[in-house]
Symmetry: C2
DNA sequence: CAGTATCCATCAGGATACTG
DNA sequence: CAGTATCCTGATGGATACTG
């Protein structure tokens, strides 16, 4: 259903496909936080990323939404409130993210 | 031992660290092929990547070597022969790569 | 609060040619 | 065979200001 290739270049290895989807600078981190914390609001997420700008945030969120990894729920209140959460498809990425998180924890000096 | 941060920016999440290390366009694919096929020569690897240029290949290989993920063995014969293989540290990445490969296989239309 | 709109910087990645 | 050396391009990401 969502298996169309939007560019016609031939991928030689399915790993490339995966990397294309989640290789954005903040995508794995966004997905990870949503997976761990459940749903998060825009600014909550932004604080967790600490350093990302609005433009890049919304850009990455939009791409993740278009790829069907996250759901965006907008409450038309004043002030506005928007919540992001993983979709079922997004949850299928968690094993990758868990491995990446595990490896990063063991190999980085990020105390 | 290799836990120094070569840039002083603070990472907020260990996933970022992992992505920095293997997020290069060809790195995961190189590591994957080396993990599956054992050791490979420069041109064998290059054929498997199909499309990569010399410059980018050697660049990615050099970075992977500097990060301690791959070993470079040079035979001073004529013609020269160079073999690349995963180090023990490189092998610790395999669980991530396996998950990425699995996910990519299931979600891409790459027949 | 949750974004767009602009404009700009960077650098990873690429084409091509040369070399030990 | 296995690379460097140059030079170049473009996509990604960033700073800042404005908005429904």
């Amino acid at each position: 259903m969502d298996t169309q290739m939007n560019n016609n270049e031939k991928l030689k290895c399915s790993i490339e496909y995966t990397l294309k989807k989640i290789g954005g600078k903040w995508k794995t981190v966004i997905l990870w936080h949503l997976g761990v914390d459940g749903s998060l609001r825009y600014n909550e997420l932004r604080k967790l990323l600490s350093g990302v700008t609005h433009k890049v945030m919304s850009q990455q969120l939009k791409e993740l939404e278009e790829d069907g990894f996250i759901d965006r729920t907008q409450y038309n209140t004043i002030p506005p409130k928007v919540e992001y959460a993983l979709t079922e498809k997004g949850k299928t990425l968690m094993p990758i993210l868990e491995q990446m998180h595990l490896w990063g924890t063991e190999h980085s000096d990020n105390s």
